[in-house]
Symmetry: C2
Subunit: 447 residues, 2 copies
């Protein structure tokens, strides 16, 4: 790697992944002690909590994405490379990437989580997921294309299958998606597709557990279920999906649902990383770390955010895979790495849970901050404010706010564009995949 | 086609293409006499004059696109189908499409122009063009990816080739692109790619004729050339490109320029349409029409906009292929079709040229309205106002205005995102191309 020589005694910190964890860490590392190299597949940070609005024609990708180079314009100590990481070699303190080998003094794994299809290959091939801007756009295009196709279909059964949507997973993502699609069904779709009968369109939300929003209180789950049912969503609890061939969703109880659109939001696992000791990787592919986020059995390698699994007797499943954990771990690690360099004591991680929330749609949300529980309009306002304040970039905030106000007044998700990639682009991708980036290990989830 | 039965005596007008011409016509046709079926490859209308700002990170695709179904929400007489037209059969008054055969009473060809590579196949394969939103996004991605690749390149020669940009064609598109890229080179790029030396980056604008902006006065061409040279663009007149292998641009005079990015804006031709009599198609693939825009040798088929060629002794090359001609022809045709139905006299087309303009960048533009010629800041303001007022949609106008004001203040084209299509999307495209849409006749230009 052609990087400027570190200034006197600066240690080289390589961070893999520019999500909440990686971005926060890169911003906080002291330039007195560290030179930073930030690696990501994309040249932008994505604000995942609003991906579902990109998928449902409410926001543009650019409103929830932020160019990495812009984020670090005033930080000459942080270098950025867009690359696929192929694996790490902790013995020699190097990582292997599509742009060559890179040496590190400290390595921080912050490459996040990806969709977990639990080894169901046919399901994986046919389901849509929503872990990236590109996937959200694909979902948007699929929904719109299905309506267009329904217009020309001669079979009533096929028409129905093209309109139906099945969402698997009753966490915040599933709930928010179901709510947004239900709102489109009631407002904009019948207006624009006057030839289709949206009375026949069914939106299913399937959850394997006995309640929705399992990270929150039972009250929140029940409230949200009521909201969704009022919007016409068919919520099925204790329902597991067996398989999906692209035409019919097969449930474990033997029932089946005809749908050309299954959205899988039923689980994540740590994204792959070659070269870690097997003893450092837990089930679900998360990386086991100690209370300082140091990877088990390794000295100079840390993991933070969704991919890290820090557990103790109280916390057998680790922390929730949410942005606040990632950000807090990153902030602490910035301090701890400095402590390491200055021979001070590192501090153990303590998660401060500030609460959680989910929205179903217009005026409908739940929010819980400790003992305080709110629902309805107030929760919905809090939800919007928190998200607007969390996103990076003043212009992004302005654009999101205008879009939200516009939709609130007009009942119109106005970004109903099926923008397909250019054919030339598609050729380039193939070339790309077979030349430079030899190791594409995530066929279904990568970008 | 499953369309509602036309009301008593309504004639069926099928319009191919939802550009300026097709969209205007569909809006204006009297519902008393006509049922309208509007066909397009995309579910949106694109505002082509601002494509170059999408390519140079200034605007989002959604800001210059407008969903067709939204445009006709309040017009129950207009039906929309997203499809590829494979050809027409004037003998039986039907057209063949990827969604089946469609019968018409009147057919209006408004499928526009596509890039003309003048049969240079290698050039076509390696050059980028900018006739659609998808192509503009590909250009944006290519520019940004080339800078990223330059960072990791070890060869100084390759680094230079990755930074250089060659634009062929000195019309408004070429001039506007050259100006916008030159501004990025001076402002945002050195800030974000501090490791690259943008002093070595060369932007070439090559034009085969002896002057730029040949549709305007000599004064305009000279002014714009001066503007571009002040921005550091190398303008070469009387320069023709022989070939391009993706690495080096070979000029007819034997010179060559190393560049990984050649943008071809040097000519258009009528987009293909099978089934027309050979005698109705001119060189450059434009469709010959009489003064009522009726296709030569056909009775019920009309052509309007860029694809139509109406010529007489004064006008051997026909009208310029610009939006005002398309819109005026569409408006007149709406009246003339009604005249046909009411046995009145049709009126011949007369182009009212309201003037033309082009911008180079911040405070730099030329505008000519008859004898009035302005340049500089005033022309630039006029250019912005005219474009802002011409675009469809209040929200689009607001977003474009905010983006422009933002850029003016911050010198920051902020949409520097390389958003690649999801891998699944790519699979779907392949499936799509081999199943439904048998006839994809425009491998390099289609979407």
């Amino acid at each position: 790697m052609d990087l400027p020589k570190p200034k006197n005694k600066q240690k080289m910190v390589v961070i893999i992944g520019a999500g909440f964890a990686g971005l926060t860490l890169a911003r906080r590392l002291s330039s007195k002690y560290f030179q930073v190299l930030l690696l990501d597949k994309n040249n932008y940070h994505q604000f995942q909590p609003l991906l579902y609005q990109v998928a449902t024609c409410g926001l543009e990708p650019s409103s929830i994405s932020f160019p990495l180079r812009k984020a670090f314009q005033r930080n000459p100590n942080v270098f950025i490379r867009i690359t696929e990481v192929q694996g790490i070699d902790a013995g020699t303190n190097t990582i292997n990437t599509s742009i060559g080998d890179i040496a590190y003094d400290y390595l921080v794994l912050a490459h996040g989580a990806e969709t977990n299809y639990f080894m169901k290959m046919q399901l994986q091939q046919n389901a849509l997921s929503m872990k990236s801007v590109s996937e959200a756009l694909l979902l948007r295009n699929t929904l719109l294309q299905n309506y267009e196709q329904a217009l020309t279909s001669k079979s009533a059964e096929e028409k129905a299958a093209l309109l139906n949507v099945v969402i698997v997973g009753g966490g915040p993502t599933g709930v928010e998606l179901a709510g947004a699609i239900a709102e489109m069904k009631m407002t904009i779709l019948p207006k624009e597709y006057t030839e289709l009968n949206f009375q026949t369109m069914e939106i299913y939300l399937l959850e394997a557990a006995p309640g929705l929003l399992n990270g929150m209180s039972e009250y929140a789950g029940i409230t949200v279920r009521e909201y969704l049912q009022n919007l016409g969503v068919k919520v099925q609890l204790n329902a597991t999906v067996q398989d999906y061939d692209g035409q019919s969703v097969l449930l474990s109880n033997g029932e089946s649902i005809h749908s050309r659109c299954l959205i899988w939001a039923a689980g994540v696992k740590g994204a792959d990383m070659q070269g870690l000791p097997a003893s450092s990787v837990a089930s679900n592919n998360r990386i086991l770390v100690d209370e300082f986020n140091r990877v088990n059995n390794l000295q100079r390698v840390f993991a933070i955010g969704d991919v890290a699994l820090m557990r103790d007797e109280q916390l057998v499943k680790g922390h929730p895979q949410v942005a606040p954990v990632a950000i807090q771990q990153a902030k602490l690690l910035a301090k701890n790495l400095k402590s390491l360099e200055t021979q001070k004591q590192m501090l153990p991680f303590q998660y401060r849970d500030k609460g959680s929330m989910a929205t179903v749609g217009r005026n409908l949300a739940v929010a819980e901050m400790g003992a305080i529980k709110v629902r309805g309009f107030v929760a919905w306002l809090i939800w919007m404010m928190v998200h607007l304040m969390s996103i990076i970039g003043i212009k992004n905030r302005i654009f999101i706010l205008i879009n939200w106000v516009w939709q609130y007044i007009t009942y119109d998700q106005s970004l109903r564009l099926i923008i397909k990639p250019s054919k030339k682009n598609h050729e380039k991708i193939i070339l790309h995949a077979t030349s430079g980036h030899g190791a594409i290990r995530k066929p279904a989830v990568g970008m």
